[in-house]
């Protein structure tokens, strides 16, 4: 059994990298945040369902999609956590899965609030 990696020192959001990725296009960033706020809860719910029903293939696939989304948003910490969840799904590793999911849920909340704060700040 592989222990859950400690991501606590990793930043929630790498803002400078994110701005580089969108080439400083604030309008695009706002659009992406909008897509994220719409899609993330749906994908998270899907992941929660897969974990609850021990659907390891579903965990791997949904984890993979979430990882792509979080990576593109430079949400480094949440991306690392979901990468572990994806790996657990692929390796059929049940132990630690619920803890990892809880960590992701918490990181999601933190990420959303950080994104909201940034967007509010940039609108000033």
């Amino acid at each position: 059994m592989r222990p859950l990696d400690d991501c606590s020192t990793t930043p929630v959001l790498n803002l400078s990298k994110l701005l580089e990725l969108v080439e400083n296009d604030r309008e695009l960033l706002a659009e992406l945040v909008g897509i994220f706020k719409e899609q993330f809860p749906l994908l998270l719910r899907s992941l929660q369902d897969a974990v609850a029903s021990e659907d390891m293939r579903g965990i791997e696939v949904t984890g993979h999609t979430l990882k792509g989304m979080l990576s593109n948003l430079c949400a480094t910490r949440a991306a690392l956590t979901v990468e572990q969840i994806e790996r657990m799904g692929r390796e059929q590793q049940q132990s630690g899965l619920k803890d990892a999911l809880s960590a992701l849920e918490g990181e999601g909340v933190g990420l959303l609030s950080e994104l909201d704060a940034y967007m509010a700040e940039s609108l000033r």
Binding site: L21, E23, E31, L32, Q39, H64, K67, S71, N72, C74
Partner: protein, 321 residues
């Protein structure tokens, strides 16, 4: 330039789309592999494609395999985009037919640079295809008139004979020879002779239908295959073509020249199951008859009388064409 993005995750898709639109690409974005294959199998498909590996319906390597199975399609430069970064994954991705591979999270500058590499490869491919097509044209067409050359027009005739035989159809074969062409060359020079041949080619093409075949058979001889043209219309079509040459003087650098053509006419209905060599021999014999009859006319090849008449004509020494 058109580019296809196939990515199931909405945010990545939008981010890629915007990044590439800023670079001047015309972006087509789809959300699964099946839709990507549909786009890439269209005749006007994008020549650049950026495919996510993990997608619903069909994954990125699956899309590559589907596209590479269709060699008739134009070459598409496919870049796989994925977080699968192990050596085995890279090998599997490239083996599936991808031309390049980019690991997520991607860097916008690296992405653009790799697509520019793709564009350079496509430009090179276009140049090679163009060169191949030029070579193909040169190998199949007469350099002076741009009509089919002798080898090709005879092959096309043989193919048409097989088709008419199989389908109980008919075709008309015309062999035309420019009257007194040697005099044109001797009197005005070969440059003017070439002008005349080019103008004849232009008029023959103008008189033929898009599905007929026109070729330069020899020096001043032209072979025309009129597809789906039965004997009832053969002579009238041959006369139209003869008139197209004779009715209007040809404009040349030394002034207008009155040029005429004699034609042998053969309907394949009268030569069932005959090989191409026999058809060519007999339409040539009919052409001899047209020359013997005073030129600037058409003579129909008739199997039952041709051999006897021809023997007589040859004995009487038909004037050289």
């Amino acid at each position: 330039m058109k580019i296809l993005i196939a990515e199931d995750e909405a945010m990545s898709r939008r981010l890629l789309q915007k990044t590439l639109e800023r670079e001047g690409y015309e972006v087509i974005a789809v959300e699964n592999g099946r839709l990507a294959v549909e786009q890439l199998c269209r005749p006007d498909c994008p020549r650049l494609a950026l495919l996510d590996w993990v997608m619903p319906e069909l994954d990125g390597p699956g899309v590559c395999r589907e596209v590479r199975k269709r060699p008739e399609l134009p070459y598409v430069h496919i870049v796989l985009l994925t977080s699968k970064g192990s050596k085995q994954d890279i090998v599997a991705g490239l083996e599936s037919g991808a031309a390049d591979y980019l690991v997520k999270p991607w860097d916008p500058e690296e992405l653009k640079a790799r697509l520019r590499v793709g564009q350079r490869i496509l430009q090179l491919e276009d140049r090679l295809v163009e060169a191949r097509e030029t070579m193909r044209f040169k190998a199949t067409h007469d350099s002076l008139t741009s009509l089919f050359n002798r080898g090709v027009i005879v092959d096309l005739l043989a193919r048409e004979l097989t088709r008419t035989c199989r389908e109980n159809g008919s075709a008309t074969v015309l062999l035309g020879d420019v009257d007194h062409f040697k005099n044109v060359n001797d009197t005005y020079g070969h440059g003017v002779g070439d002008e005349v041949l080019r103008e004849i080619a232009r008029r023959l093409l103008g008189s033929a239908r898009s599905y007929d075949f026109v070729g330069r058979y020899g020096g001043e001889e032209f072979l025309i295959v009129l597809n789906n043209c039965d004997s009832a219309y053969s002579f009238a079509r041959a006369e139209e073509i003869r008139n197209a040459i004779a009715n209007i003087p040809m404009q040349t650098t030394i002034g207008p020249l009155q040029i005429t053509m004699s034609l042998g006419v053969l309907s394949t209905l009268d030569w069932p199951h005959s090989p191409v060599e026999e058809i060519l021999r007999d339409v040539d014999a009919a052409l001899y008859l047209a020359k013997a009859a005073g030129r600037n006319c058409c003579k129909i090849a008739k199997p039952q009388v041709l051999s006897g008449v021809l023997t007589e004509v040859i004995r009487d020494e038909v004037p050289r064409r």
